[in-house]
Amino acid sequence: MLEFPGQEAYSGLSVFSLSELNAAIKESIEVSFPETLWVVAEISEAQCNSKGHCYMELVEREEESTIAQIRANIWASAYRSLSRKFENATREKLRKGMKVLLQVNITFHEVYGLSLNVKDIDPTYSLGEMARKKRETLERLTKEGLIYLNKQISLTMVPQRIAVVSSVTAAGYGDFINHIEGNKYGYRIFHKLYHAVMQGEEAEASVISALRAIRQEIHAYDAVVVIRGGGSQADLSCFDAYGLAVEVAKFPLPVITGIGHERDDTVVDTVAHTKLKTPTAVAEFLITGMKHFEERVLEAERKIVRLAKELMKEEIHRFRFIVQNFKHVLGSRLHQENKTLEITMHSLIHGTTQALDAHRNRVKLTLSRIGVALKGFFQMQDNRIRHAEQAVRLLDPINVLKRGYSITYFKEKAVKDGHELKEGDIIKTRLHNGTVKSKVEGNDGEK
């Protein structure tokens, strides 16, 4: 017990120095908790120092509040084997947020106070916890109707403009780009990287932030691809987080994942539009989609070429047939027309000849009739002339004189009337032969 100035005032009380108290507490704890215990807690902080010793805060939470808390440490040697054991089993790193089952020693240090010294860990508990949490998250998402939301967005026929969420250093990103750029069909895909941390504590927030950045430029893309390297199998728990899953589920474009793991699908895989195993598989998926599309196009082309050729052949046949037919019909018509023409010509010639003959005959006839008539006419005229001649001859005074008539002239004028003469006139009388002068002795007196 202590001895200090003025102690008399405190006679009857037990007064201890702090070191005495802490020593007593330490002893008490060592007695009460002599052996290790298995304790369940959540890691709320975890840091390792340069020597490899790990210092943690362990908590127990109920709803949102902390109902218990204690410090813990893992010495470097223990930490190495412990963390390896944990990672092998869970494929996750020991870190903040993990619920763990730890084997601990309760220690009290005079200077550093109460803390748990961690000796061992049972990863099965954490696995179970993680599985439970994942199940709960999936149930919650199902209840909120988010599980199929992204799947219902139809992926455009040829996704050619891709927003890539990945880490620029991730091997998976390099694989993806090489596969896209080196595709043997010469297809081109426009892609832009939205960098994000793809594992560890910051992953969830980082990927969410990348997705939100893509939303700002949503019209430039056909789909989003979330990929990370197949190298490390660990640290996929960020893809089981509710917050990230909601962001993916509600994303307005189809989200394709290629997170590169071989175990069960993560929650994000489940809510995404399409889940593929690796970044290379995603690239393959896109290229194959384009190939299938092109095959449809080429198939249509083949059909059209074939059908068009057939149709054209048909048309050419029909055309040839029509031309042949035409030639034939034309030939036969021409022949017909020729024949008709010949016949007509013959009839024409024949008819003309006939007509000409008839005409000629008529002419001949007419001529002969004219001839006959003329002859008749001339005959008649001839006869008339002859008659006239005859008459004239008969009447010709000479001929009349021949017949014994005579013409008596008195004063050079022929005398018709005897009364014109008186006795003693000298008259001339012309006889057929010669002329006689006479003296009128008197007339008979016929009055």
């Binding site: 403009r161 895909i189 426009f190 832009k192 092109e294 196009v297 059209i304 149709l311």
Partner: protein
């Protein structure tokens, strides 16, 4: 033939419908020629677009550079 935006989906639809028309055999020879020509255009458009996104790249880049919210809604294929 419209100058309206061709998309892969609309191009393949039109192309396959031309195939069906020709298959149906009820097509006139004159129309055949123009349909084959149109099909040829569509085929060339599809095959070229698969391999040349340069135009789209330039357009999208310029859309992105203009800033958020200014992206042209018609830039979507």
């Amino acid at each position: 033939m419209g100058k309206s935006k061709l998309t892969y989906a609309s191009a393949i639809d039109e192309l396959e419908s031309i195939v069906r028309e020709i298959e149906s055999g009820e097509i006139d020879v004159d129309i055949l020629t123009s349909k084959v020509k149109r099909a040829s255009e569509l085929i060339r458009y599809c095959r070229d677009s698969l391999r040349h996104t340069q135009k789209e790249v330039d357009k999208t880049l310029s859309d992105l550079e203009v800033g958020s919210g200014d992206a042209d809604p018609d830039a979507e294929e």
